[in-house]
Symmetry: C2
């Protein structure tokens, strides 16, 4: 999720939206304060100031502007979306027992799990207050549904991640929960707050959904074939952490009995030995699952770009289209 | 919180609201289901079916009925309030590393911390969907603010609980966060959904707020002087867990240098020895802080009963009044 480099369409978006993003950042700083509990801004600042790419709030701002919005509720919604994202990161790090995030020690390591759980809850409630301030029940409905999809996807991931019966359909649900639901809500509420017609709102939702899925599939693929200097990850981290991602799911689906036993031992039981990662990669190559996964990512990126055709042509639309292309360009 | 016995006004409320509570329970069962993630209803059922008193949803139903409401949104709001409560219990148990809740092993012990965090998030998002369905922005505003107060209170409790500088003002903020904010929101939204006039809505808020505070102060007092057969708790649990509650805060405020060192050793540093609980109790008796705490609880209960005078007389109003009296009757 954080592997966009310094020359991509992300930077052009950031430049085009610089004034509004400054307002979003001001609002985030203002609302993460707590008069009573100084631990809250400490923990939040650690994460918020750590240099995340602010991709989700930019999507909201871009969507609203693209639909001709001239008010200021999109600033609140952009901050809302970033708060929801930050809250899920805090809870994810507790769930994954992560030690590092965005190149820094995680909050659960620096403070404790308690702080991560409770400050995450606080940010959720702050995001909730912000969206209520827009006075739009339709926005609230979209974000409530996105929140439920996110939470359900997280639980599903926890229970399905090491179960070899997990198929592509479940994988897609998990990906929608962990990534695409918030992307889709971020773009959709931008259109809704702008009062865009239904077909444009639907197009913005579809763009965010497909972009998020392409993003996550690309991330999962790069884990097996990325350049670790570019991605900041080591090849095979997901394998070592026994995560069932698309390249493995496709290989399990075609596995012989012997191969199935290999996946059971390494993923389900977690009894990994030297040479296992190489063998896993050879099975993925044998069945062409890395290529097939790249094809899937490309198809979702293409779907995202296609969705944009329902929206008026503009520089911003081009940047969103380029962003979708960029997500998968890293793979090709 | 769960020490109401079988003959109190709680049971009369439950009888008066039986039909609507059945609808609330049906809705809870329906909405805690998850098509994709069976772990969710497993964890939730463990807690929801464990026989909590459902006090908060009853407060919402009673408030709506008291204000003459004839629609069905109060059912949704009652379920909302119970979901928020259940979600905070799940997260609390992770934060407190609790092993038992309502006489049963906690979810974090039966499953794991991950499940408690994520299923709690899921229930929050479900509560959010339910309240959006009422279409009332005012209700959403009240519940968003209550959520923020709850989360802030929890963080404050975590950082202030073992700090001897914590005074009565901070204690009250923590109590509002952990108990009174949701009580107050539960009663207030009942009035709002009924379209009650502002003075009645304010009275319902004040009733819930004062009831919640009386409730929590009573609980904290019973920890030091309750009958463990009646309360289900052991005398001094809070002392052993180094929780700064009102009887201790009042004793610390009057402590001599030597006594202050005693509180520092036992509460701040947690180096407790045999006989420390007896000495703590003797210090509380010396300064009359148990009596003073009971006076505070009585005053809040009286405030709750007084708030009700702004509402139309009825059997339900009498039951709410009796409930406030009952909360402190246990102390006298």
């Amino acid at each position: 999720m954080d592997t966009i480099t310094a020359t991509g369409p992300h930077e052009r978006l950031a430049a085009a939206l610089a004034v509004e993003m400054e307002a979003v950042n001001d609002l985030i700083r203002q609302r993460m304060a707590s008069e009573h509990a100084p631990r809250i801004p400490e923990v939040t600042a650690h994460l918020v100031e750590a240099g995340g790419k602010r991709l989700r709030p930019m999507l909201t701002l871009a969507a609203a502007r693209l639909c001709g919005y001239e008010g200021d509720h999109h600033i609140r919604l952009a901050a809302t979306v970033e708060f929801i994202h930050t809250a899920t990161l805090l809870h994810d790090d507790v769930v994954d027992e992560s030690a590092r995030r965005r190149g820094r020690p995680t909050a659960n390591l620096l403070w404790d799990n308690k702080s991560s759980v409770l400050v995450g809850d606080y940010l959720f409630s702050r995001s909730f207050q912000l969206m209520v301030e827009t006075g739009s029940l339709r926005v609230l409905d979209i974000l409530a549904n996105a929140s439920a999809t996110i939470a359900e996807g997280e639980v599903l991931q926890m229970t399905a991640a090491q179960d070899l019966r997990t198929g592509e359909e479940t994988y897609l649900k998990v990906v929608r929960g962990k990534t695409a639901a918030l992307f889709a809500a971020a773009t959709q509420v931008g259109g809704v707050i702008a009062g865009a017609p239904d077909d444009q709102v639907r197009a913005l939702h579809d763009y965010g959904d497909a972009l998020g899925i392409a993003f996550q599939i690309a991330d999962d693929l790069l884990d097996y074939q990325g350049d670790s200097r570019a991605t900041g990850k080591n090849v095979g981290d997901d394998f070592r952490e026994r995560k069932l991602t698309l390249p493995v799911i496709k290989a399990v689906a075609r596995a012989t009995a012997e191969e199935h036993a290999f996946w059971q031992r390494t993923i389900e039981k977690g009894r990994q030995e030297a040479g296992d990662l190489d063998h896993a990669l050879s099975l993925m190559r044998k069945y062409g699952t890395l290529d097939a996964t790249r094809d899937d990512a490309n198809a979702w990126a293409e779907k995202a770009r296609h969705a944009l055709t329902a929206l008026p042509e503009s520089d911003l639309r081009q940047m969103l289209s380029d962003l979708a292309a960029y997500v998968v360009a890293r793979l090709n």
